[in-house]
């Protein structure tokens, strides 16, 4: 019986690859948008404008304090009630972008705040504008702190993207769920699902660890 199911599973591999492609699409789009919004959010959160700082802070807390599954239900089921009809795919991308942006905001803000104050003061003394300070002095130095957790966040993004299967986006997890109805070998089916995620995430985790070691070289005591 096991062999029969195994052959069945091999035959449904194209279906799994489609799911893989969907996961990559959802995660990739959210990565792109989330990073851009997150950097703006982080700059605001670490900036001097107090109302902006507070608003961004509250937004980050609301997103961090609630499960992603609840957020995606809110976006997918409540927005139509106020006249915004969304397909599952855009709803998934919006929810995941929102989540990623809020986490990247915190990463970027703490990276910026970790740059020593003297650097900014020196830049001000040299007559650089606010934008120039950020672009040429603060951000390049902050990137050292930002980069490792940023890549770590991308790993979380790929893993969290599995939750969009709950609103019917046919990603790897959803493919597994649909397949297991037909091939009742849960260990095998979700072993394969796990393997596909592993292929994406494991290199990213190692990249994050590598960056962490690489970026702390400069500040290490010898």
């Amino acid at each position: 019986m096991w062999g029969f199911y195994f052959n069945e599973l091999i035959r449904s591999l194209p279906f799994f690859l489609k799911g893989l492609w969907m996961t990559v699409a959802v995660a990739g789009l959210s990565l792109l948008f989330g990073t851009i919004i997150g950097f703006f959010g982080g700059i605001m959160r670490a900036g001097r404008n107090k109302p902006a700082r507070i608003i961004v802070g509250v937004w980050v807390d609301l997103i961090r304090g609630t499960p992603f599954l609840v957020q995606i239900f809110v976006i997918f089921f409540i927005l139509p009630g106020i006249g915004i009809e969304l397909e599952a795919f855009p709803a998934a991308v919006i929810a995941l972008t929102n989540l990623t942006a809020s986490f990247i905001t915190e990463i970027v803000a703490s990276g910026i705040l970790a740059v020593s104050k003297g650097q900014r003061e020196a830049a001000t003394a040299s007559g650089l504008s606010g934008y120039q300070q950020l672009r040429y002095i603060v951000l390049p130095q902050a990137m050292r702190t930002i980069l490792p957790p940023l890549v770590g966040q991308y790993v979380l993004l790929v893993k969290d993207s599995s939750i969009v299967s709950a609103i019917g986006v046919v990603d790897i997890t959803r493919v597994g769920w649909l397949t297991v109805q037909r091939i009742p070998e849960g260990l095998m089916v979700f072993g394969l699902v796990g393997l596909l995620y592993f292929v994406i995430c494991y290199p990213l985790i190692n990249l994050s660890g590598f960056l962490e070691r690489r970026m702390t070289v400069g500040s290490k005591r010898l």
Binding site: D61, L62, R64, G65, T66, P67, F68, L69, V70, Q71, F73, V74, F77, I78, G81, I82, V155, V158, K159, D160, S161, S162, I163, S165, A166, I172, T173, G176, W177, V180, P184, E185, G186, L187, V189, F190, G191, V193, G194, Y197, F198, C201, Y202, I205
Partner: protein, 222 residues
């Protein structure tokens, strides 16, 4: 958006929410306890001298960290019955949450241990303490101080992750929102109430984390 917001329905469902709030709390607490124990054990294995132990712990930690919780949850939910093991849903859910968070706790504890000055361990060896004694009296007390904050952070993640248990039809907060939504067609009331309850837990844990930072860190005596 909120002009049609019906507080009466929420009030009517409050007993259900209260019950489910408690369910989320104790499911999370049980998994948290299990995860800390699993984390300590697998961290000790990962740092041990035996290659086999290190290998087993490494495979466990890396495979958990590289795959999404939802895939792991389905792996157990669909996989255990196909192996002939029948468990109630909530036990499956707690097992998945425990094993998932356990891997992250192992990494947190490992980071805390490795932050300890190696001289401390050498001094322990020189004083003739056994491996167990060094762990118990020298390493773990200091590691606890280093790790209490990331540990609470992981606890927050665990509480949020427990929302996924609703997908295998365990009664908890997110499931309460789904129930209200499907019975009354009021997603706004259902999911925003759910979100509010999660926020209560989030802010409590966050406040506790801030407090512990001030009070519970064991500082070195000078």
């Amino acid at each position: 958006m909120l002009e049609g917001f019906n507080f009466r329905i929420i009030l009517e469902y409050m007993p259900l929410y209260g019950q489910c709030f408690l369910a989320t709390l104790w499911l999370s607490a049980l998994s948290l306890l299990g995860a800390v124990i699993v984390g300590i054990i697998s961290c000790a294995m990962r740092l041990s001298q035996s290659r086999i132990m290190r290998g087993i712990a490494g495979v466990y930690i890396e495979s958990i960290r590289s795959t999404p919780l939802l895939a792991q949850l389905y792996f157990f939910y669909f996989g255990l019955p196909s192996m002939g093991i029948m468990l109630p849903e909530w036990v499956t859910g707690v097992i998945a949450l425990t094993l998932n968070s356990g891997a992250y706790y192992a990494e947190i504890i490992r980071a805390g241990i490795q932050a300890i000055d190696f001289g401390q361990i050498e001094a322990g060896i020189a004083s003739g303490l056994s491996y167990f004694q060094r762990m118990r009296y020298i390493i773990l007390p200091q590691a606890l101080g280093n790790t209490i904050r990331p540990m609470l952070g992981q606890a927050i993640i665990l509480v949020k992750d427990s929302s996924l248990l609703s997908l295998i039809s365990i009664m908890e907060l997110t499931r309460a929102g789904q129930l209200l939504t499907s019975e009354r067609f009021t997603p706004a009331e259902g999911f925003l109430t759910t979100a509010a309850f999660y926020l209560i837990i989030y802010y409590l844990l966050k406040a506790f984390s801030g407090w512990s930072e001030k009070r519970l860190i064991f500082r070195e005596a000078h």
